[in-house]
């Protein structure tokens, strides 16, 4: 670029600077957007923060009529459904990733087709998951999973209460299905990034396929897989529509999975446009602020883990 100075066409240098300025402005816009998001949410929830203070987070009552607002039922619902989703979705996702990277090495087409199908799960809009959950999954779970569990294991608090189908359990299952493509796609890239020497060394001492995976691959990929898991958790925590349609929408803290509940995102979706009072809206915005910080923390942590993994393997994840 230094040559431009002698080429007699100095405007070229200006062109370079102009391009850089324009595209840098776009990059700055992204940072500003996130900062503005945090700022506006904070301002919007000030009414609620001033009135309820820190106890808002621990408050168990959500009573719009008497204007008593506490966030705990929603935080509980978000944690419970996301936890359930990880419990079910994680082993399946890792299984899919292991299948695609380790079992299908010689069958590229099969791996490609199955990989594509799993990715398509991510392309289905969440409102359609909700519709399907409401009309198809919920009745099936109620009749063939929840009812038997309650009948035989009803003495366990987890399975107490009358199975209704629209509850934490159904929401957790829907979320599990929805995070599978996220976790399995990232995990697949991570397993692909594991150097072959890890595999060859294990095979050379006579290990079985499983032993190679268990002792040669998974330990090496641990921090990356953890990152993928956290990324899946972030998706489950932020998911709105599908959960709203199947969780029953009642602000309740219950040990039973068969109880209706609410999550941070679903209460916002469900009550925001119907909230008449300023303090009510402000309380909902504060729930959004909580969701903002939880999602921020989760995503920053996940990115950090993935970044560490890509530095280790020299592959961008």
């Amino acid at each position: 670029m230094g040559l431009n100075k002698y080429s007699g066409r100095p405007f070229l240098l200006k062109g370079d600077q102009a391009l850089k300025a324009v595209v840098a402005a776009a990059a700055v816009a992204i940072i500003s957007l996130l900062a503005l998001l945090a700022y506006e949410l904070t301002i919007g929830s000030r009414l609620s923060i001033d009135k309820f203070g820190l106890p808002f987070i621990a408050g168990t009552t959500w009573d719009p009529v008497h204007q008593i607002f506490g966030a705990l039922p929603f935080i509980y619902g978000t944690l419970l459904t996301s936890g359930l989703a990880l419990l079910i979705g994680l082993p399946i996702s890792i299984g899919v990733a292991v299948f695609l990277t380790e079992k299908m090495k010689s069958r590229r087409t099969t791996a490609y087709l199955i990989g594509t199908m799993v990715e398509l799960l991510a392309a289905v809009p969440s409102v359609i998951y909700g519709l399907w959950g409401l009309f198809f999954l919920s009745p099936i779970l109620r009749d063939s999973v929840e009812t038997p569990l309650h009948k035989y294991l009803g003495f366990v608090p987890l399975f107490a209460g009358t199975p209704f189908g629209l509850d934490f359990f159904t929401a957790g299952i829907i979320l599990a299905i929805m995070i599978i493509p996220t976790i399995s796609a990232v995990s697949r890239n991570i397993l692909n990034a594991v150097p072959n020497s890890q595999r060859e060394a294990m095979y050379s001492i006579g290990a079985t396929d499983w032993e190679v995976i268990r002792k040669g691959i998974l330990p090496y990929a641990r921090s990356g897989l953890f990152g993928a898991t956290i990324l899946g958790l972030g998706r489950a925590v932020g998911e709105t529509m599908a959960v709203t349609m199947v969780i029953g929408n009642t602000p309740r803290i219950s040990a039973s999975l068969f109880s209706g509940g609410y999550t941070l995102s679903s209460v916002i979706a469900n009550e925001f446009t119907e909230a008449p009072a300023a303090i009510y809206i402000s309380a909902l915005v504060e729930l959004g602020l909580i969701l903002f910080f939880v999602a921020l923390a989760i995503n920053v942590f996940a990115r950090f883990l993935l970044w560490r993994m890509s530095r280790m393997t020299k592959v961008k994840l």
Binding site: G44, V118, Y129, A185, W210, T240
Partner: protein
């Protein structure tokens, strides 16, 4: 399994086979919901489809013959305007990330971009509600479009960055060696070589935005008629699916399935188009978003 030899103890072989079976089971469990969802959407949605379903306005409960024309139009308008906002910012940021990767701004912004890509869309809805709906005193297509654009930007930015990084260094060097300035090299050589990737990113962003519901509840709200301008509550397909789906009326529920079929068809078409044009290169980007 080719490496299993006679010497392997039965227990180890059994564990190996059991784990292999579990891995196959995991794949079956992951694929079953996709087939069930697609099957259910087709079976319940297909009987509803007719020409009038695409051309008529919704009718009140019990009045036969209603359609979803306003929702289809609303989705097109909001995704269209959303794209007009998101594409310049997304492509610009993507060019910056790929051409000036060492700068501190690039690192910070690309990190924020990754965070934004995974952000709960309902939070974006609240943000746009505060910034635009409260300011204009109305739910509107404009607010909906802005919300969708915020969802699209990170997808466009990341696919742009990745596709431009795939452009061989030798092409840039050849261009620069001929005395072409850097900005012309970027615009004429790099972007033009990577444009298939850019196009993919835009398609993926459009597909994602067209299916978004949560932010639209707080911004576009929905409408049973055509919106007369951009500053009126506006219908959208995902909104209609949500409202009709949770309604107690069989007629509306059936229409929700019909709209779901249309939406799923659009999604699959866009995603398959992406697959066919660019292949597997950007597969991971879609899945992560």
């Amino acid at each position: 399994m080719t490496t299993t030899s006679q010497s392997i103890a039965g227990r180890r072989r059994f564990t190996n086979q059991a784990m292999t079976a579990l891995v196959y089971l995991a794949v079956a469990l992951a694929l079953t919901p996709l087939l069930l969802i697609l099957g259910e959407v087709v079976v319940r949605g297909a009987p509803v489809l007719s020409l009038s379903f695409f051309t008529n306005l919704p009718t009140p409960v019990g009045v036969p013959g209603g359609g979803i024309a306003n929702a289809i139009l609303g989705t097109f308008i909001m995704v269209g305007i959303g794209s007009l906002i998101a594409i310049p910012i997304g492509v610009g940021a993507g060019v910056f990330f790929s051409e000036w990767p060492e700068s501190r701004l690039s690192f910070l912004s690309s990190f924020m971009n990754d965070v934004l890509a995974e952000f709960p869309s309902i939070v974006i809805g609240i943000f746009v509600y505060i910034v635009i709906v409260l300011a204009t005193h109305t739910f509107s297509a404009l607010a909906g479009a802005v919300a969708l654009s915020i969802i699209m930007i990170p997808i466009v930015a990341r696919t742009t960055e990745e596709s431009l990084k795939l452009v061989p260094r030798s092409l840039r060097e050849a261009s620069m060696a001929l005395g072409v300035s850097r900005w012309k090299t970027v615009l004429r050589v790099v972007i033009s070589t990577g444009k298939a990737g850019l196009f993919t990113g835009i398609l993926l962003a459009v597909a994602r935005a067209a299916g978004e519901t949560a932010p639209l509840i707080l911004t576009a709200l929905g409408n049973t008629f055509y919106a007369k301008n951009l500053l009126e509550p506006t219908a959208a397909m995902p909104l209609l699916i949500y409202v009709y789906g949770i309604s107690p009326f069989a007629d509306w529920q059936a229409k929700a399935w019909g709209a779901a079929l249309v939406l799923v068809f659009i999604m699959l078409a866009l995603n398959l188009l992406v697959k066919l044009t660019v292949g597997r290169r950007f597969a991971n980007v879609r899945a992560e978003n």
